[in-house]
């Protein structure tokens, strides 16, 4: 017992020393602020996007949406118990997938366009084949002990999930089994995003931390702190070197992966609503952030300034997404509508 206590004390001391060391190392490279060095970059002025389509079809709150890789189809999930697959060019609904559990929180389109996945309070990630004559359940991935907050396909054979049980998981769709479980968060995992090179992914959680993981090794490589409340949304900058987070603390932040620290905070004293979702325009210059205040606010990612707003929803904006071709932005809301803007 005494030996254990001695080791525990030693470890606590080492823990404190390491945290101090990490902070010092971050400070040592913090030789200038992002917004200051963006002083030389031309401002964008006000960004005004027009509402192009209002997609009606869901009968209850929309919780999630995801663009297909073809930048034309899009899938949305609502607590009316349905997934809807839309042709955004025409506004037509192509497929309706009835869900076993209406308490859906996340939806994803596979890059191939053949599969979609969803999950929520049922703790299960269900994968559907939408190319069949009528949507067919391919797999029910059942091992999480908490709600499914986010899911993203790597391919038709692998999918990543984030859960309220504080873990993320990589699944093999051919066997339906877990390949890797990513444990390190101490709060519900709320969101995840894959790196452009697919070697790593990032997760945001209710412990107010964002973590970078190596997909194949299963290890947490970096931890980013700074938010003071749950991180609800997370996205990779297109060059894979920075990440954007959105939090219940009403701010978004950019963290640079190579400097290992926060480089800019996007916040405004007039904005007192939590951030639910984030998406980037193709150059990374514009951040579209959905808020509880029914709006999607547009930020200049380099200068840290709020430069536009997408207004029109009658309830919280719960999800936001920009397609691969960058031609527009989609917002989904608890008001049951999806809107397309450009």
């Amino acid at each position: 017992m005494a030996a254990e206590k001695a080791e525990m004390d030693k470890l606590k001391k080492e823990c404190d020393a390491l945290r101090t060391q990490i902070e010092a190392a971050r400070k040592a490279v913090n030789d200038g602020s992002m917004s200051a060095s963006a002083g030389g970059v031309a401002g964008l002025g006000r960004i005004q996007l027009k509402l192009r389509k209002n997609l009606k079809g869901h009968l209850a709150k929309i919780y999630a949406m995801h663009w297909s890789a073809d930048s034309r189809q899009m899938v949305s999930a609502s607590q009316d118990g349905k997934l809807l697959i839309w042709d955004t060019f025409t506004g037509n609904k192509l497929v309706a997938v009835p869900l076993k559990s209406a308490w859906v929180m996340s939806v994803a389109f596979a890059p191939s366009g053949n599969l979609v996945a969803s999950g929520g309070l049922d703790n299960i990630c269900t994968v559907y084949n939408i190319k069949a004559a009528s949507p067919k359940t391919l797999r029910e991935l059942d091992a999480h002990t908490g709600y499914l907050s986010c899911c993203r396909f790597l391919s038709d054979t692998e999918i990543l999930t984030a859960s309220g049980d504080t873990t993320c998981c990589l699944w093999d769709l051919e066997t339906g089994k877990q390949k890797t479980v990513f444990t390190n968060h101490i709060g519900d995992c709320m969101s995840l995003a894959l790196s452009p090179d697919m070697n790593t992914f990032i997760s945001g959680a209710c412990d107010s931390l964002a973590k970078l993981w190596d997909l194949r090794e299963g290890a947490c490589k970096q931890t980013f702190s700074g938010h003071t409340s749950d991180i609800n949304a997370i996205a990779f900058f297109q060059n894979g070197h920075a990440i954007i987070t959105g939090s219940d603390d009403c701010s978004c932040k950019m963290y640079d992966l190579r400097s290992d620290q926060e480089v800019i905070t996007y916040q405004d004293p007039s904005l007192n609503a939590g951030v639910t979702s984030v998406a980037l325009s193709n150059s990374g210059r514009l951040i579209f952030a959905g808020y509880d205040d029914f709006n999607c606010h547009i930020w200049d990612s380099l200068k840290g300034e709020k430069i536009g707003v997408l207004s029109g929803h009658d309830n919280r904006v719960s999800c936001t997404g920009v397609p691969n071709d960058g031609m527009g932005v989609c917002t989904g809301s608890w008001d049951s509508f999806l809107k397309l803007w450009n």
């Binding site: 254990e4 525990m8 470890l11 606590k12 080492e14 823990c15 390491l18 945290r19 060391q21 990490i22 190392a25 040592a28 490279v29 913090n30 030789d31 200038g32 602020s33 992002m34 060095s37 963006a38 970059v41 964008l44 996007l49 192009r52 930048s71 034309r72 955004t88 060019f89 390190n184 290890a219 947490c220 490589k221 970096q222 931890t223 900058f237 297109q238 060059n239 070197h241 920075a242 640079d256 190579r258 400097s259 290992d260 620290q261 480089v263 325009s281 193709n282 150059s283 990374g284 210059r285 514009l286 380099l302 920009v322 071709d325 960058g326 031609m327 527009g328 932005v329 397309l340 450009n342």
Partner: protein, 66 residues
């Protein structure tokens, strides 16, 4: 061995790993992010704007000769 000790060992191991990475100066990281945004600005339809004729989300008006 108590589970607290196991947990603590894991925390320390993780911190050792995170402490060991190389960090790039923020000024350099910022410069590269800026360069990326500027280089790709012309390929960002939400920055450059989308003309009505090529806007996939805008209903196409069909012209016909009467």
């Amino acid at each position: 061995m108590s589970s607290n000790l196991v947990v603590m060992r894991k925390i320390v191991q993780q911190l050792r790993f995170e402490a060991s990475i190389n960090r790039v100066k923020v000024s350099q990281a910022a410069a590269e992010l800026q360069q990326f945004c500027i280089q790709n600005a012309l390929h960002d339809p939400l920055l450059t704007g989308v003309s009505s004729s090529t806007n996939p989300f805008r209903p196409q008006k069909v012209c016909s000769f009467l």
